[in-house]
């Protein structure tokens, strides 16, 4: 275990989370994991694999099948001084807990005038692309991002996942933590002795000069691929991984847009009322005279997530991103 936290190793995103959770459990006896099937099974994505075995049933809790109950008891545990990390099995199953999240978790601190905190992390595997049945591929991040009192972050790769989950657990504010489920099996090299990037900051993950593309979670990889393809066509895209959806950290986006004059936002969630809308509105306000084209938004149409046999067409891909870039240049 000690070794696992010092040795550089090849890990998947799911393993990055697993190691991050393990370190959090080791470092702070008040950290608890709660959720459906997170014990012996290790969660349906094996993110909590082996943790109940090593930390016991009192700290890695297989809960009854009731999301409101999970989050509601997490609130009570937080009041009692614990730091619960809740797993929601799939994006589409978070809604039964919605009331507890937006009414209780989000508001408790303000109601108590800061006398209590809600250091709760709500982990949600999100997004599509894995051929799943309905309710297993949704992108509900905007519901939470718009809710005052919550923080919302999304990891995009294994290394980020490893650090961000630990930072989220250490945060005294409630954090809704989105995990890009179709990237769970992506691999990367983790150096557990490195210094992590701050949690609530966006990050330029590829420099470019012609247009800016912002994304988060699963779409970061897609946008990096698009940038690579664009380069071959002679266009230089700057790609920003938002990482934090609430608060948004848009300074790097403003700076980039002042340089490139063009911005494309990309997410799997619907364009209508999605994160892209806020980014577009804000960037336009702050960079009005720098924009050579309106901010263009890539995302889903205003429909439920479709049956999986259509998801390839439905999900934003490299082509859709490049198509938007083209449109931005055509303005």
């Amino acid at each position: 275990m000690a070794e696992s936290t010092t040795k550089t190793q090849q890990i998947s995103l799911s393993k990055g989370l697993n190691l991050g959770l393990r370190r959090a459990l080791e470092d702070d006896p008040k950290v608890l994991l709660m959720g459906e099937d997170i014990g012996k099974l290790g969660g349906v994505f094996r993110v909590t694999d082996g943790l109940q075995k090593d930390f016991g049933e009192a700290r890695v809790i297989d809960t009854p099948l009731a999301e409101s109950g999970i989050v509601g008891t997490a609130v009570g545990l937080a009041l009692a001084g614990y730091r619960p990390v809740v797993e929601i099995q799939f994006d589409g199953f978070v809604y039964p807990a919605f009331d507890q999240i937006v009414t209780q978790v989000a508001k408790m601190r303000a109601r108590a005038l800061g006398k209590v905190s809600m250091p709760i992390v709500i982990r949600i595997p999100f997004g599509g692309g894995i051929g799943a049945v309905e309710h297993h591929s949704e992108s509900p991040e905007a519901y939470f991002a718009m809710t005052a009192g919550l923080r919302v972050v999304a990891a995009s790769n294994p290394v980020e996942a490893y650090w961000m989950i630990q930072q989220a657990i250490a945060s005294d504010d409630p954090v809704v933590f989105f995990e890009p489920k179709r990237r769970y099996w992506d691999k990367a090299e983790l150096d557990p002795t490195a210094t992590p990037y701050p949690l609530y900051a966006s990050r330029v993950v590829r420099q470019g000069t012609d247009a800016t593309v912002v994304a988060y979670g699963p779409m970061v990889k897609t946008c990096l691929e698009a940038a690579k393809a664009a380069e071959e066509e002679g266009r230089s895209l700057e790609v920003i991984d938002l990482r934090t959806l609430s608060p948004l950290d848009l300074e790097p986006v403003f700076a980039s847009v002042r340089k490139t004059g063009r911005l494309i936002t990309v997410h799997e969630a619907s364009v209508f009322m999605g994160m892209g809308a806020e980014i577009a509105a804000k960037v336009t306000e702050k960079c009005f005279y720098s924009l050579e084209a309106p901010v263009l938004r890539v995302g889903a149409p205003h429909t439920p997530y479709p049956p999986s046999r259509v998801e390839e067409e439905f999900l934003p891909d490299l082509d859709r991103v490049l198509d938007a870039v083209d449109r931005a240049f055509a303005f």
Partner: protein, 376 residues
């Protein structure tokens, strides 16, 4: 098809024993060995043909289910949720329903669907990923599969309130699992049904597991007892005994139909397979447990019963197996022929009435997709 009702005395030649090892709070009419037993409140008396019918249903349903698993393994389905082991609970409760009754399933009621005459290929659509259900629930009074745990118990209750208002002579049956019993929605359904005296039978298939979580993580007294605290009766039936499931569900439906309000039936059964095809039950349960339940197999005991009573011969059993293979082959053929939906169809049914954003996006996406035509 089957005709006996609660309280009717035994009229066939089948010998009956006194209450089995099942215990007083478990209604059992047929022992794992295939012997009839008596129960003070419930009995069943069917013709040999009817007994054979129940057997046939179970075999066919198991075969269809196995085909689902096979289709998934071969990449024809994205997922399958096997009912293996729960055939008696589903066929018994399914055959208890009249055409006028209405069933609200979870995602595992392939056997109930069968009894309600729903084309099994309908069920495959969602698991194949070509639609999210897509059949007309009112055609067979069988609602769409519901994946989000527990929600359908409220829909069932509301539907039953509708039946009440229409004065229909029918009842609703709401399926749910042991895990689902923890959900707020299920308990709210108990409240709404009770307070409105709605004609709804809550039918819980307690298959011992909610994915990897055993009953102890959901409740610590037998689930059927939950009902009393909400003001309606609860009964636990041997969920691997198709005769008991039929008798108890029929009585329950009759109870609700005739104005006595809701009732809870807990069918004590076992999920012999994986939770779904992506699940690995060896991670959380022992093979001994599985073996124990295999000895209570619903189909085996019915076969023993038929054999012991000479209600069926070898030819019958062979014939049923053959029929099962035929049905499975037919389903397989029609499954793999299910066309992928056209991407543009995602805009078709979101709204009933005109919607400018749908139109705008349909046009945009349509043009975009067309620009790739041939390339894809």
């Amino acid at each position: 098809m089957v005709t006996s009702r609660k309280g009717a005395g035994g009229k066939t030649a089948a010998a009956k024993k006194k209450a089995g090892a099942a215990g007083p709070d478990l209604v059992q009419l047929l022992t794992p060995e295939g012997d009839l037993v008596e129960h003070p409140d419930y009995s069943i008396d069917l013709s040999p043909e009817e007994y054979r019918g129940l057997y046939r249903d179970m075999v066919l349903v198991r075969r269809i289910d196995a085909e689902g698993t096979a289709l998934q393994r071969q990449g024809e389905l994205g997922l399958w949720a096997p009912l293996l082991g729960q055939e008696a609970a589903q066929v018994g409760s399914g055959r208890a329903q009249t055409a006028e009754d209405y069933a609200f399933p979870t995602y595992r009621e392939h056997g109930v669907a069968w009894c309600r005459d729903v084309d099994p290929v309908n069920l495959l659509g969602m698991f194949r990923g070509v639609n999210n259900g897509g059949w007309d629930p009112n055609e067979k009074n069988f609602h769409l599969y519901t994946i989000v745990i527990g929600s359908q118990t409220l829909h069932a209750t509301g539907y039953a309130m509708g039946m009440q208002r229409d004065g229909r002579e029918a009842a609703v049956i709401a399926y749910f699992g042991d895990g689902a019993s923890s959900q707020g929605d299920v308990n709210e359904a108990f409240v709404f049904a009770s307070v409105n005296n709605a004609p709804v039978v809550f039918f819980c298939q307690n298959n011992q597991w909610a994915i990897s979580e055993p009953n102890e993580r959901q409740f610590r007294v037998p689930l059927y007892q939950r009902a009393a605290g909400f003001g309606f009766p609860g009964v636990r039936v041997d969920g691997n005994d198709v005769l008991a499931c039929l008798a108890v569900t029929r009585a329950a439906l009759e109870h609700s139909r005739s104005g006595n309000g809701p009732i809870l039936v807990e069918a004590f059964t076992y999920r012999m397979g994986a939770h779904t095809t992506t699940d690995d039950p060896t991670r959380y349960r022992s093979s001994e447990e599985l073996e124990e339940w295999k000895a209570k197999d619903p189909i085996m005991r019915m076969r023993s019963f038929l054999e012991k009573n000479k209600y069926a011969d070898e030819a019958f059993f062979t014939e049923v197996d053959t029929e099962a293979d035929t049905v499975a082959a037919d389903i397989r053929a029609r499954c793999v022929a299910l066309p992928d939906p056209k991407p543009i169809s995602i805009f078709d049914h979101v709204y009933a009435e005109p919607h400018p954003l749908m139109d705008e996006e349909r046009a945009e996406y349509g043009a975009y997709w067309e620009s790739f035509e041939g390339a894809h």
